[in-house]
Symmetry: C3
Subunit: 468 residues, 3 copies
């Protein structure tokens, strides 16, 4: 599964691999490349034949655009070349090893060392692998920033000829942001993952008490073997179900806030904004838990314990000469429970698939909203049915209250039912109408007739950049 | 699962959110942005600090390119500014709420209001979310149309600097088409979905009669519990199998038509063309049904009914002192049936994965055809084996004809077997040769030697657009 | 599942379909199109109304850029038009039917026929389907090569206006490479697929001997029914597990080589380089086998044989009046085995999903490496636990040595354990430090202080191409 970027060879920051790949790609794109090195003879074999490998000073003289593919620590070693570099464009392609490692970005540091040069930050987000693999995988973006528009445009054009999509990130002060991009580690997944782990832990402990500790204390029965599969299998659906409702809860809260304040121009509190932006990740984790639970459930009849219990029941029945143990209600509960569960999982898998970037990009807003909002809400309703069928009448059965703890499923119903009831209320004509008006810009306590147009912006963009 | 475009905040047509996002992106891309509003003080806080928020007339004066981010209903409120707007480029970014809502497109309406301005339609297919999320998710296309090439190019350049891919959609008459794009709701999926639902309903009724109603009428046995899982589980593979064959049937019909008329230049009838274009969706629904059936099958041993029947059989056997119930034929039937089914599902999942846009885009035609056509046909053959193993000798067993209805699987074999036989015939050397010649441009009843070159076009493109 | 490019209608090389699609797209993109044909009347109906269809000579006169959409065999028929074509740009869009079919590429052949024209190779990698489907699916790359920079730029601009991403592939000598691209058939998958098939065959035979042939010879028991499911089900995890370890083995070998030679500038032997590049495919096949095994395992309780054996055991127990057959150790072994297996499968599925191009493209190097390298290694460790739980104490049980052959799982442990031990050793501080230094450019036996900067390249690119 390990793909292109490998831990051994192509680590960004390993300047020389990057340099080689950059040279290969530049040569292929029709540029004349001169490589500067302190030891050109030794390095020549590493570079494509079409690239001239010579001493640094020599190379610097011959070129107008210079890619500085060395570590920040060694920037100062280039100071000897300061005279030759005057007026040239230096492209800083470096990355750091830690976020905000240095006070100023590498590019700004380079610019401070060579005030007579024009420094452009670019290509640091592109890996050596992407550079080498060429055309096919090459529709990657190259983020560019510089204080000099002219130099920025030159580099943007080089990037375009190389098959990349240059993206103008503004002036040099963005360099720090650009340098931090390759160091991010799935920031959008952090909170949702901890949320899922937290919920898992809570429900796991709760189920452990009910399914393992309670029979041990009350009846001295050893049910420890239930921990790896059965307890996990009752925990996962709880996590999945609650997470799914947490995808739709922030939307409900946002609508409530809009209805209460009678405007959509009031900013949501930060926590709500954050929550709204993490819904995709929460939803995908919910699907992942649901899929894991499905596999766990399907594995149940494979286990030895299942087999042993089945045979023991059969033997007991045979010895008691009882021919039938059919309980119609139990049969129906299970058939409906499984059937509804499969439908919910099928819907969730559709939601997950349409979350893939390549598919989401091919949908327009209406399609995306239909699938994620409408189908997703239906999935939540069907999951609720799934949970209720599982519970059946257990909530009213005193025996199910172990240590006075109610059955787990009753706890999970709280948030999802709130969301469902809220969305039903919002779909009442009077409330729906008011919500729609608010979302089209209407505001409480303002003259509607003349206000609406001003509620909408009108842009005028004069360009400062020389691009247009 | 709800992703970026959310039903609460970022609905396109909610002009102000779009305006804000557009302003943010323009500022980031290095443009000078002036926002015009009737109430600049109130709105200023919503926009990035770098954007100047002022009165509409003021803003209009300062800019050359004006993004009109207001609803169509309020276009007329801009008429006061008509003098200031003379000669400027107005970019219509609006969307409708219904397909073909108005007689003329919004952009054409705007153009009619401001004859002294140049109107360009653009950015309506881009959501506020895409505008905000910036660089990374930003490789979206911006469809542009206008009667003025110069203005179109200006906007295309702005779009490119913002990180989008501008696509020239021609002159203003395309505006209507562009405005309808965001309102489409999965048009390619409509027919295939109804087809799948129709087939499901037919087969479900048929199986219901055979599996539930027949035993109830003939033997007064209550088998209603079979409806949620077992009847669905015998229905889904029928739907999946017939749908899979419907993917390959239009190709066979097309080949027949080509062989019959002896040319490939005769257009197929519309229904066949439509069918050929919906094969991907039909195939994916076939895979979805197959996957659902697999899950249903795997759930069978989990059910209470399975458990009860198993125990009852065991008890019965024990009481009759019968030690063995092993039926070698039944064992083999089931082992082969399952094994072949897994292979078919594995192949179908490969086909489904290579249908993902990001993977399909990375395949060349030969690879795509190898997987979808060759592997897909093998999947059809293996599915046929799967069905035949399931049927075994039931077609010849009188007891299987409930109410004189033949076993379901015999009905499903019709279309797939036709397709398989047709493809075998087409692969006979004589027919294959003729087909290949037809597809390379040969036509029946024409001199072959000199005709072939003329059967192929040669293009000359002189450009009217000022782009090239 | 058959998607856009179909075997019947749109085969590349079927010049006329391609011509039509090209014409449609050019017209839509705002170009004036003249189609030249030997029989304009017959062909006119095939082309969009906006395209003028006339005789070849007429068409050639009217245009500056001529797309030659005919087969190589018929290039010579254009020689009559040589006078009209002088100084024009001929775009060769042709493909071959076999790799390296002709000595010189089609484009070079065309150039030799028309020395007075400028020949550009382009658009051959784009299918007729992509041309027709327009904007949305159209972010495909167009590879372009020519000896004339000016002509190359003209075609690149046309491609861009049509919504494609032009990629400069250098001079005419690349035409052969470009023409071979559409003929490739999943080259990266060949070796990994044969590897997987080879491993499958070996382990299958080994398991067949142990599970079917041994009981038949020693105890005359007919266990042939085990072949389709059970033997396959013990073979697939072996293949999957060994393949997974083969993903991480080359990284270990590369690190060993770097440690031994004390430098990262020594090129790896070719076989290791090849192996490093095929890790993604090996990993995906490993996941595919693991998923197939999971489905096989889940199917076990569905089989008749399982049912029969269960009932027979129950009957036997009942007749012997044995009430309990619970074996605590067996129960625990199975519960842990299944639980660990599900975790491993869950991790592998995460690795597989992040291998999808659209997701891999949205990850930065650190994220990709975290998932593929760290999570992948954890998956390998958990798979090892899965295998060990499966084996339990069988390796020390004499009865498991059928024909003196050790249990299969002991054989599979070899490579994975080597990889795990090696990675543990590499993580020892002293070795890790040395490895890191080597990867940052340090070399054994050279002065470190001054050498480092020279170990890193510095590029100077002066442009020969007129692009920049």
């Amino acid at each position: 599964m390990t793909g292109p970027n490998q831990d051994v060879q192509r680590r960004p920051g390993h300047a020389s691999d990057f340099a080689r790949s950059l040279a290969v790609r530049l040569v292929r794109s029709g540029f004349r490349v001169v490589v500067g090195s302190r030891n050109p003879k030794r390095k020549a074999s590493l570079f494509p034949a079409a690239a001239e490998v010579t001493f640094q000073a020599e190379a610097a003289k011959k070129a107008d655009v210079i890619f500085v593919a060395i570590f920040r620590e060694h920037y100062s070693t280039l100071c000897d070349l300061a005279d030759v570099l005057v007026g040239k464009i230096l492209v800083d392609v470096s990355n750091n090893t830690e976020i905000n490692h240095h006070k100023e970005s590498n590019a700004e540091y380079l610019a401070s060392l060579f005030p007579a040069c024009t420094v452009v930050k670019a290509f640091n987000v592109v890996s050596a692998w992407t550079l080498q693999s060429g055309a096919r995988d090459g529709n990657k973006q190259v983020l560019i920033c510089s204080n000099n528009q002219e130099a920025k445009r030159t580099i943007a054009e080089i990037a375009q000829v190389m098959g990349f999509t240059p993206v103008d990130m503004g002036c040099m002060s963005s360099a720090c942001e650009i340098e931090n991009i390759p160091l991010r580690l799935l920031p959008a997944w952090k909170i949702p993952t901890f949320l899922a782990l937290g919920l898992f832990l809570c429900f796991f402990t709760y189920n452990l008490i009910r399914q393992v500790i309670h029979p041990y204390i009350r009846e001295q029965k050893n049910k420890l073997y239930k921990i790896p599969i059965e307890v996990v299998n009752t925990t996962l659906p709880c996590v999945s179900y609650v997470m799914l409702s947490l995808v739709y809860l922030p939307g409900v809260l946002a609508a409530c806030s809009q209805l209460y304040y009678g405007t959509k121009y009031r900013r949501f509190p930060d926590w709500l904004d954050q929550w709204l932006q993490h819904r995709k990740q929460i939803g995908l984790l919910s699907f992942f838990c649901a899929a894991l639970q499905a596999v766990h459930s399907l594995c149940l009849p494979m286990r030895r314990s299942h087999r042993y219990l089945l045979i023991e029941t059969a033997v007991k029945q045979a010895m008691e000469k009882k021919k039938t143990i059919w309980v119609e209600e139990e049969v129906w509960r299970m058939e409906i429970y499984i059937s509804v569960g499969i439908i919910a999982l099928g819907l969730l898998s559709l939601l997950a698939i349409t979350s893939l970037p390549s598919i989401a990009n091919s949908l327009n807003w209406r399609e995306f909203s239909f699938i994620q909002s409408s189908l997703g809400f239906i999935a939540l309703v069907i999951s609720t049915l799934h949970t209720l069928t599982y519970g059946w009448s257990r909530a009213f059965d005193e025996n199910q209250y172990k240590f006075y703890l109610p059955p787990t499923y009753t706890l999970t119903l709280l948030v999802p039912c709130t969301v469902i009831i809220a969305r039903v209320i919002f779909s009442l004509p009077c409330i729906q109408h008011r919500l729609l008006r608010i979302r089209r810009g209407w505001e409480k306590g303002r003259y509607v007739k003349f206000v609406l147009p001003s509620a909408t912006g009108e842009f005028s963009s004069g360009e400062t950049s020389s691009n247009v």
